[in-house]
């Protein structure tokens, strides 16, 4: 049995620590590119105070079904981004997943890939879910390639659901089933 769920090779999954993390999370929200790649709502920067408040609201809104992690670099413990599972439908075994790395400098180094694998293991081997759903946007080529390469299937294309920069874009949702994840793990052994 795998006992280490939160300790990866280069990263670890840790609880959100408002005192430690609000500052850097606030900094990311001042990067419109980050916001537009991750957020459906209109972009707006948030002060550390409001980051804390938003986290508390998300927590309250989730009624306890909230698995929120800060992705931390093992080398210096800095916060790299977040990953969370929420809106768990326990009766159906479905949940929604989202993650992002805050700084462009930390992307394309395998850190996100490692975080995703750890989150999938958590979803399917700890929460025992049947499937997970992820939403992204037509224009987020990085996310689409990232998900498709790792076995997520495009399931829904809500046409013209996003209006940005004077044109409409499709909202996409991807899904991965536990059995698909299990097959991937078996193949990699």
């Amino acid at each position: 049995m795998v006992l280490q769920l939160f300790e990866g090779e280069k990263i670890r999954l840790a609880a959100f620590d408002a005192d430690k993390d609000a500052e850097i999370f606030s900094k990311w929200t001042h990067d419109p590119e980050y916001l537009r790649l991750t957020e459906y709502e209109a972009a707006r920067p948030l002060a550390p105070f409001h980051i804390k408040k938003k986290f508390e609201e998300m927590e309250k809104d989730a009624h306890g079904d909230f698995y929120y992690f800060v992705i931390r670099a093992k080398e210096d413990d800095r916060a790299l981004g977040f990953a969370h599972i929420r809106w768990v439908e326990w009766n159906h075994g479905n949940a929604h997943f989202n993650m992002a790395l805050g700084s462009p400098d930390d992307r394309r180094k395998g850190l996100g890939s490692e975080a995703l694998q750890m989150m999938l293991r958590y979803a399917f081997e700890e929460l025992n879910l049947y499937r997970m759903t992820v939403h992204t946007f037509e224009y987020n080529d990085g996310a689409r390639k990232f998900l498709e390469k790792r076995g997520f299937q495009l399931e829904v294309r809500r046409r013209e659901a996003i209006y940005r920069d004077g044109r409409y874009w499709d909202a996409l949702s991807y899904g991965i089933l536990a059995e698909e994840w299990n097959n991937q793990v078996a193949r990699s052994k």
């Binding site: 459906y40 709502e41 209109a42 439908e89 009766n91 159906h92 075994g93 479905n94 049947y130 499937r131 759903t133 299937q153 495009l154 399931e155 829904v156 294309r157 809500r158 046409r159 013209e160 659901a161 996003i162 209006y163 409409y168 909202a171 949702s173 899904g175 089933l177």
Partner: protein, 185 residues
């Protein structure tokens, strides 16, 4: 300009009155065929207090709930709602249920859907409307297609009840498609 936007051919859209309608609306929950197709969460027997509290929630710019009433005798037969209305993108989700079984499969729900779509496109000025349905709910899917909704995908195995995994179908209609329907219709 047609200002009678809440009146259709068979039904009209009305406010849901927490004081007068809660008992009727909660009563629909006795029928688990109805609630299991409607709710993602595990279903419960009718909970009057809970239902009333939900009806008491103040409508807001992201949430437009309606009662569906017959034109002939003003009976409350169901509900429809625009929710998660996002005015930046012009995007929203619609939910609908004909709680009174005597009025299912007779065009009342389709009429109500046509009304709420008209409200979405001509009053709220939205760009598109989405909905999700259990794939095996053929009557609902047929009605949505009749209103102009297009299949936009399926989330695999997301519905698990009585030991059977079903897909959830996602459907959508854009303003352009809706305007095309009007010309044809």
């Amino acid at each position: 300009m047609d200002n009678q936007i809440f009146t259709g051919k068979l039904v009209r859209l009305a406010a849901q009155d927490p004081e007068k309608d809660a008992t009727t609306i909660a009563g629909w929950d006795k029928d688990t065929e109805y609630t299991r197709l409607l709710e993602v969460d595990p279903v419960t027997p009718p909970q009057l207090k809970n239902k009333r509290e939900r009806l008491e929630r103040m409508p807001n710019p992201h949430f437009y709930p309606f009662g569906v009433r017959t034109l002939t005798d003003d009976i409350l037969i169901g509900f429809c709602v625009l929710m998660r209305v996002n005015h930046v993108h012009g995007d929203a989700f619609v939910g609908i249920g004909m709680g009174d079984p005597a009025y299912r499969g007779k065009g009342y729900g389709t009429d109500a859907m046509n009304l709420i779509l008209r409200f979405a496109f001509q009053e709220l000025n939205l760009h598109r409307v989405s909905l999700d349905a259990v794939a095996t709910n053929a009557r609902a899917v047929r009605s949505y297609e009749k209103c102009g909704f297009v299949l936009e995908g399926q989330t695999r195995g997301t519905e698990f009840r009585s030991g059977i995994r079903d897909n959830i179908v996602s459907m959508g209609i854009t303003r352009r498609e809706w305007e095309g329907m009007k010309v044809e219709g």
